[in-house]
């Protein structure tokens, strides 16, 4: 609540140029009553007065000052850099293996300053190099599936929630059908249908099966927002469907979708790992955190660090995206600024 005690300058008195005409009406509250109405806010910053603000502009201004956003943004930029240019971060070939140099060998000090500072896996390959080179497949799968699922599910949920009626009935039933398909079983069948299995076939399979969750969240959120008075007010002004959807409903309905999508991002990277473990996802010459995590599970008692490093990389990635999602969600809510 703004400060009510502060008074407003006289030149904002609404009575200044409107003379009351009906004395009968005036004695309802009288002139004294009108003096009370000058509830005011803190004076705005005069320097910023002239430029018009928008939600996204304000959100960006706010984000730049949030430490959580800065940390997550730096992490994400770094991860994307690693994914695009892995050779910048290591000169070791992640596929070069020396079977005598595997995880059972007792490490000596020189290992901590060389290519093997994360240790070596069962086939004597540098874990550090594999974490660096594995980023590309994992991050591609994570980001692309999340984007595809958010777009697809968001669009479906938005249409179902906004239009309602038969549109909602059809989309919701399709969603239910997809919900009934077990993710791994469905992906197994789907991926078998692909002639070549690479990162993109995994992306398509996961996006095809995963959009329903986002569609449901979006639909519920849109239905709640659709009924609010400001949407009715927009309609009363003559706003069209596009304006109502994208100016009024979407900004107010997107928050839970952002949260669910960023959490799901980690899930997609692990789903890719599971598929690889089952032998239908990425195949061995491809390097991904998922492939390494699943192969490291077998040696967890002898050499836990083989599992630790790719898993830690995955956790950091997921954490960075969740933090980013949280910061964006907060920045889009003017009340939390």
């Amino acid at each position: 609540m703004p400060d009510r005690n502060e008074s407003i300058p006289d030149d904002h008195d609404p009575l200044r140029n409107i003379a009351p005409t009906d004395s009968d009406h005036l004695d309802y509250v009288g002139q004294q009553g009108l003096a009370v109405e000058q509830e005011t806010l803190i004076e705005p910053d005069p320097g910023k007065r002239e430029q018009a603000r928008s939600l996204w502009g304000d959100a960006w201004r706010d984000l730049r000052r949030r430490p959580i956003f800065i940390i997550s943004a730096v992490l994400i930029v770094l991860l994307i850099l690693i994914a695009i240019f892995p050779s910048l971060f290591t000169s070791t070939d992640p596929r070069a293996s020396d079977l005598t140099n595997n995880y059972l060998r007792r490490p000596d000090w020189s290992d901590f300053f060389g290519a093997g500072w994360f240790g070596y896996d069962g086939q004597g390959r540098s874990i550090y190099a594999r974490v660096i080179y594995g980023a590309r497949a994992s991050i591609t799968v994570g980001i692309c599936v999340t984007l595809a699922v958010t777009l697809l599910g968001g669009l479906a949920g938005m249409s179902a929630g906004y239009f309602g009626g038969w549109m909602d009935a059809v989309i919701s039933r399709i969603t239910d059908i997809f919900f009934g398909i077990p993710l791994l079983l469905g992906a197994l069948v789907l991926l078998n249908a692909f002639a070549t299995r690479n990162v993109w076939s995994v992306v398509i399979a996961l996006a095809f099966l995963g959009w329903t969750q986002l569609a449901r969240v979006m639909r519920g959120s849109v239905i709640t927002v659709k009924q609010s008075d400001y949407v009715v007010a927009g309609r009363a002004l003559g706003a069209g469907t596009g304006r109502l959807m994208f100016r009024h409903i979407l900004p107010n309905a997107i928050a839970p979708v952002i949260v669910v999508a960023t959490i799901a991002l980690g899930g997609y990277i692990t789903a890719e790992a599971t598929l690889s473990f089952l032998g239908i996802g990425l195949q061995d010459p491809t390097i991904s955190w998922g492939v390494d995590i699943s192969s490291a599970q077998k040696v967890i008692r002898q050499a836990p660090f083989v599992l630790f490093f790719p898993a830690a990389a995955l956790s950091i990635t997921v954490l960075a995206f969740i933090m980013m999602g949280d910061a964006v969600r907060d920045a889009l809510d003017p009340k939390l600024r």
Binding site: M1, P2, R4, I8, H12, D13, P14, L15, I18, P20, T21, D22, D24, H25, Y28, V29, G33, L34, V36, E37, Q38, E39, T40, L41, E43, P44, K48, R49, A52, R53, S54, L55, D58, S228, D229, Y230, V232, A233, G234, R235, A236, L237, G238, A239, G240, R243, R247, H248, P251, N252, L332, D333, P334, K335
Partner: protein
């Protein structure tokens, strides 16, 4: 502003004459005839079968004159808000006609409807939910200009928004703030500014002050009155607070169960009510003076409002009326002035036995 300067009908004391002369009587700007809004009740999941209808608005007729304020009162669920929504074309009418300056508007769509929306605007009940929390005040008030670009050229919009803020008594520098940074009264002013942006001729106020505290209510009511004088607006003012309606209205219509049961000037309704329901409503208005309160004869209605899905036959009020007779069950009373009534009591009232009652 009287008709030919003649003494208005039934004005007896000088105050009444003076007051009645204030009542503006222009041309009808909105003519509503036998308007109905029925919400179907359906049964079945896949194959929906209509099993009945909630008759939220069931045959309402009235005129809204240019420059006047028509108050609509009635208890919760009587169809006031549905009436407003149908008039705004937010809900399609089931039957009946709404004419704006002689032109039928209840079945318009597309660009014709958009054009009519410029002239009829609405102020909402709850200022906490009627403003988009993620838009700045400038965007909220400027949105009408984006939807109807012909009203204000692009370069002038910011200035136009600031002028509107000034008109409703807010600091024009608040343009970049968000709704949550304002109090309830200030938010309602923003809502009013949005309604005014297109320079409409009619503003439908759906309980615009019922969510505000009493001191702020008065400010908003006064603001509405100033704006009416300045912009020659016609108001349809929906409320359940009888005192506020009396204060702001030139004419008052009383609704019960989807029907208009009595309509007339504020003096006719408040001091010379002839419909038993209006009399019961008025007797429930709190009286501040304890002695007057004791001498007053309160009418306490028995029973509940019947379901609008199954309204009683004949007169809808008969199930709770102390005057009800067999005729009320058979015949639906028309909303007309009964010939046996005299003076101010002779106004439109939908009761077979319309009569004034002392001491309410």
């Amino acid at each position: 502003m009287t008709v030919n300067g003649a003494t208005p009908l039934g004005a007896t004391t000088p105050e009444e004459v003076a007051f009645a002369q204030e009542v503006r009587r222009g041309e009808p700007i909105l003519e509503v005839r036998d308007l109905r809004k029925h919400f179907p009740l359906t049964r079945g999941v896949l194959f929906k079968k209509q099993v009945g209808a909630v008759k939220a608005v069931d045959g309402v007729s009235f005129d809204l004159m240019q420059g006047e304020t028509l108050g609509i009162v009635g208890e919760s669920g009587c169809g006031k808000s549905t009436l407003a929504k149908v008039l705004m074309n937010l809900e399609p009418a089931s039957a009946g006609s709404v004419k704006y300056k002689g032109e039928e508007i209840s079945r318009l769509s597309g660009s014709a409807l958009k054009a009519v929306r410029r002239n009829i605007q609405m102020v909402f009940q709850d200022p906490y939910t009627s403003l988009n929390p993620r838009m700045t005040v400038g965007d909220i008030i400027g949105e009408p200009f984006e939807i109807h670009p012909e009203v204000a050229p692009k370069g002038d919009r910011r200035k136009a928004v600031q002028d509107l803020l000034d008109v409703v008594g807010l600091n024009p520098e608040y343009i970049n703030r968000y709704p949550h940074q304002f109090s309830g009264g200030q938010r309602q002013r923003i809502g009013i500014a949005r309604g005014l942006a297109l320079k409409p001729e009619i503003i439908i106020c759906d309980e615009p002050v019922s969510a505000l505290d009493v001191s702020v209510q008065a400010q908003v009511i006064n603001l509405l009155e100033q704006l009416q004088a300045e912009f020659e607006l016609s108001y349809m003012f929906i409320a359940h607070d009888l005192s506020i309606v009396r204060h702001i209205s030139d004419r008052v219509g009383v609704m019960y169960l989807g029907r208009m049961v009595e309509i007339g000037s504020d003096l006719e309704i408040y001091d010379h009510a002839t419909h038993p329901y209006t009399q019961a409503l008025l007797s429930a208005v709190p009286v501040p003076d304890p002695t007057a309160r004791e001498s007053r004869d309160r009418i306490v209605l028995v029973g509940d409002v019947p379901s609008p899905a199954k309204p009683p036959s004949g007169c809808r009020f008969r199930t709770r009326c102390w005057k009800a007779q067999e005729k009320c069950e058979r015949e639906d009373p028309a909303l007309t002035a009964r010939e046996w009534l005299e003076g101010r009591a002779r106004h439109d009232s939908a009761c077979h036995f319309a009569a004034e009652r002392e001491n309410i």
